[in-house]
Structures are given as C-alpha cells and as structure tokens.
Amino acid sequence: TLRLIYTTTAVRRKNVGASGPEKYTEAFIKKQIEEFNLGKRHLANMMGEDPETFTQEDIDRAIAYLFPSGLFDKQARPMMKHPTEIFPEQRKIQWGEDGRPFHFLFYTGKQSYYSLMHETYEKLLNAQKYQDQLTAQDLSPQKEKKNLAGNRWLTKIELEEMLLEKLSDVDYSRFIQLLQKLLTLPCGDIEEKYIQKFCKEVPAQLKKVVIEPLKYDERGVAFSTGEGTRKTARATAVVYDNGTGKITVNGIDILHYFPVLQDREQLLFPFQFLDRIGKHDMVCTVSGGGRSAQAGAIRLASAKALRSFVTEQEVEFMRQAGLLTVDPRVKERKKPGQEGARRKFTWKKR
C-alpha cells in the first residue's frame, strides 16, 4: 500500500467531472415510481375522475389545466411523466459478487457493440458455409431480390439507444458495412430475421395531388372550387364553365375592386396561360392581406380550380409556370438593435 507523505487541500477536493453523469440507484427509481403512482391517484381525485382508469393523456391535460404556463418551450412547462421516461436507462454493475464480469467481452470497454459485431460476423461465416455446401452439392443458390427501396438502416443515435453505449462514427460505419456485406451474399431466411432488426421502413413520401372532378350545379353548368393564400390573404374561387369572362370579387366587379391594372393582370394570368380568357366565369371571396396579396391569393385559388377543367399535361405546364405553388414569402420580423428587419441604425464614425 502507498503511504501518504504530503498533500494539499486541492487533492482532497471532490473531482466532480471524474465521476461521470449522475448515477441513479435502483432503490431511488423504485421510490420515484411509487411517488408517481400516488401522485397520479391524487390528481385523478382532484379532477373528479376514476383513479383506476387515469391514462397519461388525462394526466397531461390535468397538468395543463391546473398549472397553465405561457412558456414557449414545451420542455420547460410543468410535466408529470413516468420515471422511466425521465431518468435515462443506465447500465447496472457489470460484475457479480466474486468480481467476475458477466459478459465475455467486458474488458474491451464497448461490450455490447463488439458482441454485436461478433454475432454479425458469425452470421456471415454461416452464410458462407451454407453457400459452400450448396456449391459442393452443385445446387444454385436461390436469388430472391429483397425489396430494398422502402428500407433504411438504423441511424447512429438509434443504435446507441439499442446498445446503451456511446459509439463513434467509425464504429457505426463499420457495422453498416458488415450488414451490407451480409446482404450481398445469397443468404437464406436465417439471416433475414437478424437483419430486419436493424432495418426500418421509410414511409412513402410521394403525395399524389388528387385533382377533384367537376361538379354540376342546378342549371347544369360545370364548376369547381379552389383555395389560395398569399401573405395574410385567404381566397376561395368558384370557376364556372360556359361563361363570358365575368369575374366578381366579394360581390363587386373586378374593375371596381381592383382599380390598379397590375392586380387585374394577376387575376387573368391563369386564364391567359390556358387560352381560356372568355370561356369561364369566376366568383371569389377574399379576406385579409393588402391589395397585392389578395390578388395573388385569388390567382392561386383560380389556378387550383382550373386544374379540374384541363388535361394532366397542361396541369404539369401550370405547375412548371409556378401557378400552383404557394408563395412562401411573409413579412420578416423586426430584430432588436436594428431599425427594421434588415435596416440597421445609422452608423456614426464617432
């Protein structure tokens, strides 16, 4: 044993960083769970509901009602969740009473990651052995093309959560390379189940825009509706077939509603693009925004309504012309320390 000769008080001071993140004992977590369950029953009593059938959503609603908070950050508001969601899962002590660790790769440091690599490599060797057996018996290996389009590998963070261990980028890329190598071999059903643990389905993001069919009103005239927005203006347009080119906005004719030529040009642009200026009637309602914003909103609404009258190729042309895209530009906020959104205060040299 070492004999202490001389130390300073600085050595005796507790090294806060060396002990790592706070470790929660099992007893502590059990106590927290008991307190949570008691609190849940009290809350149910307070709200006048049945304590037995009080779900997590009810708890969230009750807390939002009893402790209203105007804070923007949802994580900063008062919340009451089960302790397993709040306290992150931690590794318990890895060795038994006699000191022998439980896992055979404990002394590597990253035991779960390396045991995963070990298992995957074993599957690879099995697949190669199976392939050798088939070639020895002169049987061709079955090649079933798996549908790889809708799948993606687990991300590094998801893998870290699965293994409860920190990984580095190199480790993660190595593991993905091993899995890809395993896929390239003509492996059978044995390995597919194992690989599916590390696959995730990507939901198809292609949203086919559904063009509504034409509707017919009492007189037998075909019409269709469309909605459009621009800045703060909201507009709905109803386009009738077999018309003369009359356009009414909020019950007022466009010549009176939009005195400026530019706004009327914006309204007529979709019809001009499709060469249908004198063929359609339009009745629209618009609210909010300013002069130009209302014009833009009605333009978008009428273009959306015209999609039902027109072929698919012309719809594609309209989309490429930008008639069907919502204009995302809105007023930028003013920042403190500046005169406006971009304009800074006058800079004086001295």
């Binding site: 002590i93 890895q94 660790p101 002394y107 590597t108």
Partner: protein, 216 residues
Amino acid sequence: DGNLLSKPLSHPDFFNVKELFSLKDLFDARVHLGHKKGCRHRFMEPYIFGCRLDQDIIDLDQTMQHLQLALNFTAHIAYRKGIILFISRKRQFCHLVERTARECGEYAHTRYWQGGLLTNAHIQFGPGVRLPDLIIFLSSLNNVFEPHVAIRDAAKMNIPTVGVVDTNCNPCLITYPIPGNDDSPTAMELYCKLFRMTIIRAKDKRRQSEIFNELQ
C-alpha cells in the same frame, strides 16, 4: 480448504498437460515456421533452431518445454478461479479467439486497445473492478508490428502473462513466452484447442475437489 489450494502445488504436473500435445502435432500444425531472416528479433535468437532458405525455424524441443510450463500455469490459475483474458490483434483469428474465450467461460479482447484499460480501470469501468489475473497473448504484436501495449501494462499492474512469440516479437516482458508461429490458421487453432482443453480440465478438477471436500 487449505488442502484444496495447496495440493495441486505439490505436484510438478498436477493437471497432466503433457498428454495434450506432442511434437508431431506441433510440426503438423506448422508451429515451427518463423518469419524471414530480416524480421528476426535479437532476443528470439536462443529459441531459433536454424535458418533455411532465409526462413527461420523455431526449435520445437524448447517450444515443448515452454508450452508445458505455460499450460501448467494457466491450469493452476483456472483452478484457483482466476480471470483469464485472451488478447490477439490478428484480424484473421479475432472471431476464433472470441469463440474460444466464450466456450471456456473466460474473457477476450481482440479489438482496438484503449489506452487506460488496465492502468486506468477504476475510472474507465467504475470503482471495484477486478482486473484479469492472467493475460494470454495469442499474437503479441499489434497491427503496426509493434509490441502490444497490454504487455507493458500487465507488467506495470503485476499481472502474469503467457504469450506466443514469433521470430519478430520481443519476449522480454512476457512471464511465460511460447516461441511458435502465430500466423498460420492451423497453429492458431492448435493453441486455441490446447488452452480451451486445459482451462476446462482445470475447472472440472476444481469442481470435483470441492464436491469431494463437501462430502467429507
């Protein structure tokens, strides 16, 4: 119980490890083949039998003696329930070594060695870790052909080592070196088989002696 631990120490070969291998087995597994003359390490010269067409041949008689001492030592450690750690940085045999360790019920480390695993164990693993009582090197060099850091660390932490040293390795800090080939698959499989059989034999003997003592 004093009998339990002192009885094996009275015999020179309590676990009869000599019968596990013979000179012919070592020769068939190509244990005698070393590297070329240019790769020869100065301290391996006593263990080399000769040089044929520039390739060093290891003296199998000396290998037999060293192997017997090493296996006897591992058997004693396993009998006294010590922790054994297998180390090999050869990528070819990493799976084999890990499999051997798992079958024995002991531990293996065939991956990148993080600096403070032995010397900084209390901080890396947690307070109260038990360090290995024996480290077996199935290849004592790492991937850059330098002596493995664990040899030096084990010497620092007073942990005895058993190691297979090839003609380009440094046998200095290893307590029970075994001069022999560490590159052929047959040689590695032979070593794994021998270590596995000794450890299992020693553990079985321990269990039998404990049952025997309880019955008395």
